[in-house]
Amino acid sequence: MKRKLSDAGDQPPVSTPKRRRTALEQSNGALNGLAPNALPNGDASYEVPPSERGQSTPKKTNGISATPLQQSGLKTPTQKSKARGLFATPTKPKSAVAATPSRVKNADRSARKKSARVLFEQDEDAAWDGSERLAEEILHGDEPGTEKAGQSLAESIEPEGAEEAPEKGVKQPKRRAGRPKGARNKRSPTPEGELPAHERYFFQNRAGPVKTSNATLNKVPLLTHEEYFEKLGQYEDPCKEEKEYLQSLHHRSFPQWAFEFDEGFNICLYGYGSKRKLMDEFAEWSYNYCSSATTTPIIVMVNGYTPGISIRSIFATIVTAVMGDDAPSKLGAQPTEVLELLQSALKSREDPVTVLINSIDAPPLRRAANQALLARLAATPRIRLLVTADTPNFPVMWDISLRDQLNFVFHDCTTFLPFSAEADVVEEVNALLGRKGRRVGGKDGVGFVLKSLPENARNLYRLLLTELITLLDDGHQSDDEGAAEGGGRAGDETGIEFRLLYQKATEEFVASSEMMFRTLLKEFHDHQMITSRMDASGMEILGVPLSRDEMEGVLEDLVLG
């Protein structure tokens, strides 16, 4: 955007920072009055109703600090102008309603030009500071202002869409440049009338931007593991009785399941809720049901959700259960070997072996190869397989030949019980929200690990943090928009180049060789205290999965401790 640099003489009247709003309007008026020639359509732009102006007032939360401005006052406006240039590309306002806001915007723009000029010529009379702040404010006022206008536009068209954006007490982050809003992109999550499911799918997935609010969870403190468990313990389930009744209904099918087992079927339980408890009860029931004076039934329990569980270990457990002390000490490394051993051992057996698998569709077992092996286990004579499946689409794991081998009968066992053992809830949610760093337990976790690490490692981490924070600070100055947007997880995006950090580390005598440097980093990697990624040019970028506040906290502890 071009800026006229003439008319150096006209200055807006001095205003006190306390009365910003009135000062702003005054300054607008003054600018208009003094320099009508600077406006593209200056004559029309000032019949703006005060209410409209009120809407475009920037929020107080965007508090502008004057300090960085004085250091790089020249830099900021150019940056901003670029950003605005994108934003202001007037492609969208097409409806009649849009006329007023655009006029307002024109007025604003003229004021902004003036302000920019003020900031440009700041070096000439640097002593004056009030106008600077005002000019800053006008420049910033642009963004929320237009957004507000856009929003009010949207609101007038679709009140139901707007109401889904509760703004109470939440800082409305500034929009990043570039998304035009208008009647064309009108979008409401619930379409009019009863659409069939597939129509609704296309309705919700139609092209164009999605309208959701910009609220983020920054202000909401997230739960830690401890708090999660503590608070969940306090919750009293309103449906406790009903759930127990449901459980008792499933209980009544136990004899039926036993009969199905006897007739050579395997059983698969599905439906919402954790079925682990039901499995435990069935194990106990069938243990009592099948046990007689001479034999004790063999029941093997498998928890498919256990991370790192292998098919081989499952087979090996069954082999030990079947063969007892006769099991060879070396079972073989391949699961097929163990399976064949098991099959030959079962040939000489009369009694069935019951294998109960919790969550056969859990990620560790989900792979096709694993399922194929389990199917072969299921097809083995005298093996009875009772599995549970939790996800809605589990049957897609099995093609017809696997289905044939598995020979399942399916029962809906909806229990509504929480998946407390199956899922690491806090971790899952953090991953879902993109806060992976929480894995180490945030600041405390990192601090804890650091305490146990040698001096050198701590120094390296301190170095890394210092560099990152410096980078962040720089970033804040050059692009405060982006940094503020990134908010809590600025650390995720900011990173330092590997070479650079190595150089710094050698300078500070933290690491004398790259080998050593890498060893130190490996330790951090193991504790998930650093992130590493390749950037576009193939350089390794190191980062820390912590928010800025947390980084500062850790750094403080490091320096002080």
Binding site: T212, T216, S248, Y272, E284, S292, T306, P418, F419, L432
Partner: protein, 697 residues
């Protein structure tokens, strides 16, 4: 707070077992966790059982638990008896179906050798299509045959066994040896050799084995050839080629698509190593039809599958490409359900009156809809006395039921015989599309066949058949259409044909060729009139025979094609519940989960009688979140979702609502939805989720 309470609330047991991958179950020591239920169960069973049976009971007493032990046992025994009969029939059919391919493949394996194949590897390509299970049947029987004659053996290899060349070879060698010598034999074979110990994947081992055993044919069957890595397959085959002079390999490739497609995936150099023959396994559909026909129309059948079950069975077969085995398993399950859950099934055992739980069973019979209909019919006929006896006298009812049961079972048998008659007639009368027996059975079972257009057309076409075809038809019908009249007709036809054997086939008067259209001009108008062409005396006689046959058929059809639902006691010998079968074999887990979450009170029978349709904090957390999720767009702002979620709790229990507790509920709900794969992190905006599943799709 105490940890016990917390663990109880979370459903976590105090043992560490939940964190173990796999472990051998040990029942808990009888403390508080033993629970009352199992012990209660044991108490009941001990009072009943301790008199005679040490063997455990498989069935649960029905009739509100009042059924006596004998009749429970009778139900089980009858099930075993009836099903084992049916299963044998199925096995026979399967063997018969496979027999053709088996002999072909077997003779191929026996007759070919590398010498006959110009030094290439002899290869049998077996296309199985959707009938995947047939190949394993085939292979195991082939294996049995070859081992029996000590010619060699079959090693079955699946794509899962072949991650890389070394493992594949190792698996082949081990499978070959364990196939004949067992696992111990393999271990012994590895250790008991002279010279340096060989590695597990050394084909020298196999060579050694072949020499020791004198194996003439070593068939290596790849069950799912398409799933093998082509590179690996190439390596494997070239290796076999180089060992072919020492180990007599024959490769058998199971192909689900087509030979051309399979060949296209392999490099030419590899294809050049193979020389073989193509075999085709019969499609599953025919086989399933045959099984069904045998099960239903066999004169020894006592229990039939109703219309709903039949449609479900065939739906599943066509929708899921079920194998014949899977089909017969479903039928088995239908039998199981009938005997497990229907107390009237005991009647099929022809029990002596003593072994029954008399009064309860009578009550059950009297509550049958078919009993009611039967009584109404009797009253209309005027036998009020009999109805009164049936209603009031248990003794009389118990005496009468077996009679009616037998009679009605006989009528079912007749019905299915008639279905077969119709089927055979249709073979001769339908020209284009053939109606298969399952379609006819479904119609017959719903009582629609006797009035259907198929029958009308059939009768109409039957009239026009010429004498040769009719003769053939009658030969086919013999033994199925049992009536003296049919024999007489056939006799007459024979004698007629003998008298005029030289003049070619006779045509009946209904045949289109024997009517002529006369065109006459009367008072300058054209009048068309049809009239019988002059037909020979034999033809007249033949027409007469045809008329008699058609009349016989029509009487037979109307007599025996009854609606089974009208028969008294059909509940005992006709299994027609769609549901256990459908849900058990074709589950809709996604629907179940969606339903549980969208309307949780379908499952949770609310004791408080508020039927809540709206989202409320009384529902499980995940259900609340899911319903909010359903209302949202393709992109969901987590913060807003959280606000809405919190709002649900806030509005209803404003005073006792701890937002951190709600937050923890929110967490667990969110993680569950993520585990179900309906949401994922979106990179489009901060703190947004992308919706990835739509309800009801």
């Amino acid at each position: 707070m105490d940890t016990d309470g917390l663990n109880d609330a979370l459903g976590l047991s105090n043992e560490k077992s939940q964190n173990l991958g796999a472990y051998i179950y040990q029942p808990p020591k009888h403390g508080k966790s033993a629970g009352e239920r199992p012990s209660k169960r044991r108490k009941v069973s001990s009072t009943v059982d301790n008199d005679h049976q040490p063997e455990r009971r498989r069935f649960v007493p029905l009739l509100n638990g009042d059924e006596n032990v004998k009749s429970v046992q009778l139900r089980y025994d009858t099930y075993q008896e009836l099903w084992s009969k049916q299963e044998n029939k199925i096995q026979d059919i399967l063997e018969d179906v496979d027999a053709g391919v088996l002999t072909n493949v077997l003779s191929f394996v026996r007759d070919t050798s590398p010498q006959t194949c110009d030094g290439c590897i002899p290869t049998a390509l077996v296309t199985v299509g959707s009938n995947v299970s047939s190949l394993s049947r085939l292979l195991s029987r082939l294996n049995g045959q070859l081992i029996l004659t000590e010619e060699g053996s079959v090693v079955v290899l699946e794509s899962g066994d072949a991650p890389n060349l070394k493992t594949t070879l190792k698996n082949i060698i081990r499978a070959t040896i364990t196939n004949t010598d067992g696992n111990d034999g393999y271990q012994k074979f590895l250790t008991d050799r002279a010279g340096p110990r060989l590695l597990g994947y050394d084909l020298d081992l196999l060579h050694d084995y072949v020499q020791r055993k004198g194996t003439k044919k070593l068939v290596l069957a790849l069950r799912d050839s398409e799933a093998f890595d082509p590179g690996l397959l190439t390596d494997l085959l070239s290796l076999f080629k180089s060992w072919l002079d020492r180990i007599p390999f024959t490769v058998l490739l199971g192909i689900s698509t087509s030979v051309e497609l399979f060949e296209g995936r392999l490099p030419r150099s590899c294809v050049a190593l193979l020389r073989g023959k193509h075999f085709e396994v019969q499609e599953a559909g025919n086989c399933v039809d045959r099984i069904y026909e045998t099960l239903q129309t066999d004169p020894g059948t006592n229990l039939w599958l109703g219309r709903n079950v039949t449609t479900t069975l065939f739906e599943n077969t066509s929708d899921y490409f079920q194998s014949p085995e899977a089909f017969s398993r479903m039928v088995k399950y239908a039998y199981m359900s009938h005997f497990f859950a229907n107390p009237l099934a005991v009647l099929l055992a022809n029990p002596g009156p003593t072994s029954l739980t008399r009064n309860k069973l009578c009550e059950a019979v009297r509550n049958l809809p078919s009993f009611r209909m039967f009584c109404e019919d009797l009253v209309e006929e005027g036998s009020v006395k009999q109805v009164r006896d049936l209603l009031e006298d248990d003794e009389y009812l118990i005496q009468e039921t077996p009679k009616y049961l037998d009679a009605n079972q006989q009528r079912m048998r007749n019905m299915f015989q008639t279905v077969r008659v119709v089927h055979i007639c249709l073979e001769y009368t339908q020209s284009a599309k053939k109606t298969n027996i399952s379609d006819l059975s479904v119609r017959a079972l719903s009582g629609e066949l006797s009035e259907s257009t198929i029958l009308e057309e059939m009768v109409a076409t039957a009239k026009t058949l010429d004498s040769d075809k009719l003769d053939e038809l009658l030969v086919h019908l013999r033994g199925i259409l049992v009536s003296p009249e049919a024999d007489v007709i056939q006799e007459d036809l024979r004698t007629l044909l003998e008298t005029c054997s030289e003049s070619g086939p006779l045509r009946s008067g209904y045949n289109i060729n024997s009517t002529v259209t006369k065109t006459t001009v009367v008072q300058q108008r054209i009048r068309l009139s049809k009239g019988q062409a002059d037909i020979s005396e034999q033809a007249v006689e033949y027409t007469n025979i045809v008329d008699r046959l058609v009349a016989l058929l029509q009487v037979h059809l109307t007599e025996s094609l009854i609606n089974p639902q009208d028969l008294f006691l059909h509940e005992a010998f006709l299994f027609d519940l769609r549901n256990p079968l459908k849900e058990t074999f074709a589950p809709r887990p996604r629907f179940a989960i969606e339903r549980a979450l969208a309307t949780p009170f379908d499952y949770l029978l609310s004791s408080s009688d508020i039927t809540m349709t709206k989202v409320s904090s009384k529902q499980p957390a995940t259900a609340i979140l899911y319903q909010l999720y359903l209302d949202s767009g393709a992109l969901v702002n987590v913060h807003d979702l959280w606000q809405a979620f919190y709002g649900v709790f806030e509005t209803e229990e404003a005073d006792v609502c701890d937002d951190r507790v709600v937050m923890s509920l929110f967490y667990s709900a969110l993680s569950e939805l993520k585990a179900f794969g309906v949401i994922k992190n979106s990179r489009k905006k901060t703190d947004h989720l992308a919706k990835s599943a739509w309800m009801g799709l």
